[in-house]
Each structure stands twice: as C-alpha cells, then as structure tokens.
C-alpha cells in the first residue's frame, strides 16, 4: 500500500510517498515506520490519516485506502 508523507516525515523518508506491504492496522504501520525510519520516533507526535481522517491505532487498513503520515502540524 502507498503511504503519503508530509513535512518533516517527507524529509526523513526522502520521498513524498513510500510503499508498505503486509500491514493491516494503524498500529502495525507505526511499528513498521519506526523500524524503517528511526528518526520518526523523535517527533513530538505521529498521526496516521486514513481517507483524509485522523485514524486510531486499532483502525484496519485496506489496500485501497488513502493513507498519510501526519507529523506535528504547524499551520496558522
């Protein structure tokens, strides 16, 4: 599945999106991300959005979902 990246997360991964396979929940995705990109663990927070809505750790991911990594926001 394709995972969109923004802000500092995009800088850490070095790409605007990455591919992740064999992941079925938000919690699993976070574990996988922290292993692939240890610098993500140092952020103040890390949220996952599924289909443009903030997701909870227990939420299930389907291959067709639009998944995005949301590092700490700083608009305004």
């Amino acid at each position: 599945m394709r995972v969109l990246l923004f802000g500092i997360a995009k800088d850490i991964a070095g790409a605007p999106f990455i591919m992740a396979e064999g992941i079925t929940t938000v919690a699993e995705l976070k574990v996988w991300l922290y292993k692939q990109y240890p610098a993500l663990q140092k952020l103040r927070s890390l949220m996952i959005a599924v289909n443009k809505v903030y997701a909870a750790d227990v939420d299930v991911l389907k291959p067709e979902d639009e998944i995005a990594i949301i590092p700490p926001v700083s608009g305004g």
């Binding site: 969109l4 923004f6 802000g7 500092i8 995009k10 800088d11 140092k42 952020l43 103040r44 959005a49 443009k52 809505v53 903030y54 995005a68 949301i70 590092p71 700490p72 926001v73 700083s74 608009g75 305004g76």
Partner: protein, 138 residues
C-alpha cells in the same frame, strides 16, 4: 453556503470580509496571522508552508461547521496560504460573522486555536544558518 474555505498561494482579508458580511450580522471578528521576522531570537529569512490539501479542507470544514452549529455563527471564512512566504506576509485569515459580537470573537479564537492543532499544514522556518520544521520535535 455559509462557509468559505480556501488554501491558496495568496489570500486577502477583503476576500474573507466580502464573504461573511451581510446586513443581518452586526459584528464580524477577524484574525489575521502574519509571518514574524524573528523566532526565538533568530532572524527568519523565509518560510515554506506545505499542506495535505484535501484533508486540510475537510478539517477546516469541521471547524467551520462547529462554529455555525454550536457557537452562533452565521457565516465564516477560513483562508490559509501554501508555498513560500516572507516576513510580514499574511498566512491565515479567519472571519466570523454573528448577530452578537461575543460569539464572533469566541468562534474566531476557537477556529484559529483548533486550526493550529488539527489542520494538516506544516511550516518550515529558514534562518541564515539553516531551517527547521516548526513544532516537529519536543
């Protein structure tokens, strides 16, 4: 429509006012956020705003609807820029119109506070000796 939500390279206060002002509403509260030239004693040379636009518009819509459904607002505009900006440039404009001015102030303050917490927009500050994504680290 009672809400105007925009993410754009350039925004103006007048745009927001033109949208929210109606002869039924006596009071309009507005918040204008500008790029500061100094952050933590360091001179800011420029800023970059990045945005997950479709989700940002949905989160802005939630904020706007809350002010209309729960805070007595008749019309509200929330405008935010993306891209590169310089000190002094306007980056966010919120205008809320209500029959009662206390409601307009409360809604405008709620909207900017919540935008800063929930809307997926990221700001990178550039200094003479480097750059940082604002608020990324504890």
């Amino acid at each position: 429509m009672n809400t105007l939500l925009q993410i754009n390279n350039s925004i103006t206060v007048q745009q927001a006012l033109d949208f929210v002002q109606t002869p039924e509403c006596g009071g309009v509260a507005v918040f204008v956020g500008n790029v500061r030239n100094v952050t933590q004693q360091k001179k800011v040379t420029k800023l970059l705003f990045e945005c997950y636009e479709p989700m940002a518009l949905l989160e802005m819509e939630k904020i706007a609807q809350h002010t209309i459904d729960k805070m007595g607002i008749k019309k509200i505009a929330i405008l935010h820029i993306v891209g590169e900006k310089l000190p002094g440039d306007t980056v966010v404009v919120i205008a809320a119109a209500s029959a009662h001015r206390a409601a307009a102030f409360a809604a405008c303050e709620y909207a900017i506070d919540t935008l800063k917490e929930t809307v997926p927009i990221w700001k990178k500050e550039y200094f003479e000796d480097g750059a940082v994504w604002v608020a990324a680290h504890p």
